[in-house]
């Protein structure tokens, strides 16, 4: 090895350690905990104040409040409505369930986004950034809850979904729907504290609640947590999603990419060389 290649190698090795250090620093500085929201469906009376407040806060059109009573099937959020209440009848008892983005701890949409337009903030909300998004809608394909909604009617479309009032959070306020709820059916706090609170409620009134917190483990944990007094699949929840965080499903593939990128060219070159020798030897025999 001559001096020039020695210096080169040294330089490359040094460069390789740089991103490593940067990554380490990033992890160490990240001490904030995710915020979340606990929905106690036994307390919700279906007044829809949260729905109205949400629309007012985010400049969305006024929601159709009668749809709650008219619709037979559970309704879904749309590009014009970030959150809504659905009514379920189980054993002659009525239940009201709030629906919106679940703010997964490891969101599929953010892992899917090629431009990081969808971002899991360190505070917990999953937000969308207009200047990044190119509108490929891969987030919609990936989200297990079908939450990102797209404005098909617009030449400058946006992705619309609940952002847990991130802009309010950053100035120390609670999400608008939390402050609007007259029944305290939804409460806001650190996700860890909310899980404690949910457990306490189940422990103190084990007859009322099913002994499960929806969102504690589903798809690796979600920011929104639900308590209910009937099995959750009867309230329109998907209980077949599993507990594996969605980004894990693409991990094997993504991890194999660098292996292929480095190994394939080497193998192909070797094959090319081998075939060259074979080719030449047959030529000579001819």
């Amino acid at each position: 090895m001559d001096r020039r290649s020695f210096v080169k190698t040294l330089g490359i090795m040094g460069a390789c350690t740089l991103p490593g250090r940067a990554l380490q620093a990033e992890n160490m500085g990240d001490e904030t905990e995710f915020y979340g929201i606990l929905v106690d469906t036994t307390k919700c009376v279906g007044c829809q104040t949260c729905t109205v407040t949400c629309a007012e806060t985010h400049g969305l059109p006024e929601p159709d409040l009668d749809a709650l009573w008219d619709s037979d099937v559970p309704r879904k959020t749309s590009d014009k409505q970030w959150t809504l209440i659905n009514r379920f009848e189980v054993d002659d008892q009525e239940y009201y369930v709030k629906t919106q983005c679940m703010h997964c701890c490891q969101p599929a949409c953010a892992a899917a986004c090629p431009t990081k337009a969808l971002l899991k903030t360190k505070e917990g909300p999953v937000v969308w950034r207009a200047d990044k998004c190119m509108g490929c809608r891969f987030c919609m394909v990936s989200c297990p809850f079908d939450m990102p909604k797209f404005e098909y009617n617009s030449p400058v479309p946006k992705i619309q979904k609940c952002v847990m009032c991130w802009e309010r959070l950053r100035v120390g306020q609670k999400p608008a729907c939390i402050e609007a709820c007259p029944e305290e059916a939804i409460i806001f706090g650190k996700r860890r504290d909310l899980i404690d609170e949910a457990r306490r409620r189940i422990y103190e009134d084990p007859e009322l609640y099913v002994h499960e917190i929806y969102g504690e483990h589903e798809v690796g944990g979600t920011g929104y947590l639900y308590l209910a007094s009937v099995p959750l699949e009867k309230l329109g929840f998907r209980t077949d999603l599993g507990t594996i965080a969605y980004p894990e499903y693409t991990k094997t593939f993504l991890y194999s990419v660098p292996i292929v990128i480095t190994l394939w060219p080497a193998i192909l070159l070797a094959l090319n060389n081998a075939s060259k020798q074979a080719h030449e030897s047959t030529e000579k025999e001819d």
Partner: protein
């Protein structure tokens, strides 16, 4: 100063010559008002109008896309099926440049050109589907790298692969323009481009399948599997080659006048060789499909509409065409090979559409059907591609022999060896016509 102005005058003279030549080449060769031209021109015009409407009023003005079905045929057919069909280029470059199967050399240029144009137009059709296409530069220029995204990976690989394929194909452009020295440089880059291209193809062909890994809760279990990336990769091998066979049989008729003796003579031999690879790849694919099916215990799904659709795809358009390929190989029947190729292509369309559109969100109440406008725009993309292909094939040495000055160095070398060895120069003159 003197040499500087010398170079400058040379460059201006050369670029003047180039522009003159290019303009003369722009003129159509042959009749302008053929039935094909009239039909394709009217569809393209209609498509162009619809594209303007789409960008002025948003996607809902021309498509049936919904919140449940964010991807329609522009992604499911144009991009995902189109790219699988373009897989022939990487398989053939592997055969010719890596394994040195010289038998396939005569069709390498047309295949690479086809692949390149398929990527430009079908992956380019992605831009029509993007809601905010002006932000497409974000993942490219690095102001926002979503490195954990499969889409990011696929997008980058599309771009890099287009460059690699253009380099593979560029000697033909240089020969057309008469740029001898540049031709030599570009020719020297071929092997590197091929190796790079095969690597990228492996990753983005499987990457297109990996796009659906996170749609686990939406795609029907018969089509969802952790092995989607591998299944997509393996099927791209026979999808691409079947397309080469299919396109070959068409261009054999359409471009007969441009076809060199070599291409013409080797056609049957090449088709049979490709059929053999297809049959083998299809066997591997079928085997993988069966393993996935048994492992995930999908028996119960079979007796339903979805199960029948699955069986039609797997038996009718994988197992049967594979069997036909084998049969055709036995009797060396080219017509039957072409029939098998068509069946295989239908099977690939079925598989890609099933995964991305039909069995996607299979529990949804409102199904997605493409509008006539989505279909017209898709057809215009296909027709523009065919017209560009025809323009290039009619001008550049794609199917025809390259100019004598650019004939392969290796061939020259072989010639020399033979000249010394056999001392029969006349024989070579005849066969190299």
């Amino acid at each position: 100063m003197k040499s500087g102005s010398g170079i400058l005058s040379l460059v201006t003279a050369e670029s003047k010559r180039f522009i003159k030549f290019f303009i003369s080449e722009l003129k159509p060769k042959g009749k302008l008002f053929t039935p094909f031209n009239i039909i394709s021109a009217s569809i393209i015009t209609l498509g162009a109008v619809l594209i303007v409407i789409r960008f002025a009023k948003g996607l809902s003005s021309v498509t049936n896309l919904s919140q449940e079905f964010p991807w329609g045929i522009w992604i499911g057919f144009d991009v995902i099926t189109g790219v699988a069909f373009a897989g022939g280029a990487y398989v053939l470059t592997f055969m010719v440049y890596i394994l040195r199967q010289e038998k396939y050399h005569p069709i390498i240029r047309i295949t690479v050109l086809n692949g390149f144009l398929a990527y430009v137009f079908y992956a380019g059709a992605l831009l029509l589907d993007l809601g905010r296409p002006w932000n497409v530069i974000n993942p490219i220029i690095g102001n926002s790298f979503g490195v954990s995204s499969v889409m990011f990976l696929v997008a980058w690989h599309f771009m890099l692969y287009m460059i690699a394929e253009f380099i593979e194909f560029s000697p033909a452009v240089a020969e057309w323009l008469g740029w001898k020295r540049i031709r030599k440089v570009l020719g020297g880059m071929t092997l590197a481009a091929v190796i790079f291209g095969i690597t990228l193809s492996t990753l983005h062909q499987s990457g297109l399948g990996a796009l659906f890994l996170m749609a686990k809760s939406k795609i029907h279990p018969l089509w969802y599997s952790e092995y989607i990336p591998i299944l997509f990769f393996v099927s791209s091998i026979f999808a691409g080659l079947s397309m080469v066979i299919f396109e070959g049989s068409i261009s054999h008729k359409v471009f007969r006048h441009r076809m060199s003796q070599k291409v013409h003579a080797s056609h049957d031999d090449i088709v049979l060789g490709l059929a053999k690879i297809c049959a083998a790849a299809m066997f591997v694919y079928f085997f993988l499909k069966v393993i996935v099916f048994i492992h995930e215990k999908h028996w119960l799904y079979l007796n339903s509409t979805w199960g029948y659709l699955y069986l039609i795809e797997i038996v009718g358009f994988v197992l049967i065409p594979m069997r036909i390929y084998v049969q055709a190989l036995k009797y060396k029947n080219i017509t039957v090979v072409k029939f098998a190729a068509v069946l295989t292509l239908i099977g690939i369309i079925l598989n890609r559409l099933n995964t991305s559109v039909i069995a996607y969100n299979w529990q949804a109440l409102n199904k997605y059907y493409p509008t006539w406008m989505e279909i017209v725009i898709t057809l215009s993309v296909v027709f523009v591609e065919i017209l560009v292909l025809r323009w290039i094939v009619n001008r550049m040495p794609i199917l025809s022999d390259p100019p004598i000055w650019a004939s392969d160095e290796k061939e020259e070398r072989i010639k020399k060896i033979y000249l010394i060895k056999e001392e029969e120069p006349e024989k070579w003159k005849v066969s190299s016509m």
